[in-house]
Amino acid sequence: MQRKILVRLLLVLVIAFTSFSCAKETPQDKQAKLDRKQDVKDYVTHHLLDSHDFGLYSYTDDAGEVHHVGFPLPIILWDNGLKVFSSSKFHHGETVAEVDGNYYKIDHAKIYKTDAAGTINYDDKDHATNDKPLDISITKGVFMMLLTSLLMILLFMGLAKSYAKNGGIAKGAGRFFEPIVLYIRDDIAIANIGEQKYKKYMPFLLTVFFFIWFLNMFGLTPLGVNVTGNIAITTALAIIVFLITTFTGTKDYWKHVFDPLGDGMPWAGKILIYIILVPIEILGLFIKPFALLIRLYANMTAGHVVLGSLLGLIYIFQNWIGGTLSFGLAFAISLIEILVALLQAYIFTMLAALYFGFASETHEHAEEHDGEVAHL
């Protein structure tokens, strides 16, 4: 009954809000709204990118001056020698930083080498053509990564110590994660890799799960850091998965790649099929981790875009009904995003374990699996 009332209320609100917004529109308003739309789009795009200083929020004072609240992060460049300086020199990307006679400017979260005036040349596709020094700065993303690492070290070393101290029973904050550790061991590692070989993959699976999960969760806080939604981060993770899979691959794994049909067919027949099959198998080796990196990147980015856009709607509509509705929607999406944060960490870990399972498969193991299937 209550739910019905709620649905009706929402319907009334939606109708009221659409008619309101239609009724009030004048060409001037329309232009202002378009500007705001562009602002929101820029804001969301900017948020998705990494940044060289840790901005908490910014505001415009009565004099029309923009103030940024946050703290600068160290910039580390390799440009004919190591250059280390504070990001405060850029003044939030508004000015040119001069270091050892070189001039640098930030454009769309990237540092370019410029002249003293800070001119950036663009090609016809709107890409900057200036030289880019090798930028290994401690950016906002790196900072959050380090923070998460520190948190994990404190949390899990604490958990490890509490076992030793309390005779095998966890105490403290770490024990909330014990069931998750056990879940990863039993339902991800053992289920996909097998009882004999899961142990050597456990450290990676646990680290990657909690690393992604914590960073995803940090992404939902008002700190607004989009670390796992950055393609460089997911690429690094996927490459590590690829390397582990490749280097722990057993003879059977490689045999499966280069001789998938085994002895079931005479070689003359196999050659014809293998012209197509083997390249596909080899491609599969790379596609698997590539799918991992794209999946995590796309999911987290999509979440941030949706949330940012819904919050941006508040500024576009600028009336109480639209604002409330946008807020309600953003709130609902936030709840879903909390689930997605966990889910994506789980999926990444799960698929990594699955690939490790393929790689560490030995022949006896394969037969076991066949047996299982036959039983089913």
Partner: protein, 166 residues
């Protein structure tokens, strides 16, 4: 796709790889290994404890069965002992009775023999006494009788009469 490539930050990639691998190595040594070992140990402990409990339960059941058996044996033994005692009792009683009877009859027989001999002795004595008494009497009578001649003659006469009659 092109946007992805232009957005790709080498610095972030570098730091992610370095930080993640360091984190992995550090946590592997100082967190995951001790945690997994502790958890495994604990699970092994639980498994062992459960096994031990199961074993103890079995042992308990065995013990109880043993106890039951012992109790039954004890009861049977008691019963047997009681029965034996009862038998012994009746046997003893009957034996005693028999013995008493035997002794009694022997005593009676002895008594009878004694009585008989006593009786015989008494009768003999009486006979002797009677004989001597009769002799005395006879002496006295004879003395008295024979003091007078006529009487002696009478007697002889009587006796002769008697003797001839016989």
């Amino acid at each position: 796709m092109e946007k992805l490539i232009t957005e790709f930050s080498i610095g972030l990639f570098f730091w992610q790889a370095v930080v993640f691998i360091l984190l992995l190595l550090l946590l592997r040594k100082f967190a995951w290994k001790p945690i997994l070992n502790a958890v495994n140990e604990r699970e092994q402990g639980i498994r062992d404890a459960l096994d031990a409990a199961e074993k103890a339960k079995l042992e308990m059941a065995n013990l109880q069965a043993d106890n039951q058996k012992l109790l039954q044996e004890a009861r049977a033994e008691r019963e047997a002992m009681m029965k034996e005692a009862r038998e012994l009792k009746t046997k003893m009683i009957s034996e005693a009775k028999e013995e008493a009877q035997e002794v009694g009859s022997k005593m009676i027989a002895n008594a009878q023999v004694a009585i008989e001999s006593e009786k015989k002795a008494a009768v003999a004595e009486i006979k002797n006494q009677v004989a001597s008494l009769s002799l005395e009497i006879a002496e006295k009578v004879v003395k008295d009788e024979l003091s007078k001649n006529d009487k002696q003659l009478n007697l002889v006469k009587d006796m002769l009469n008697n003797a001839t009659l016989n």
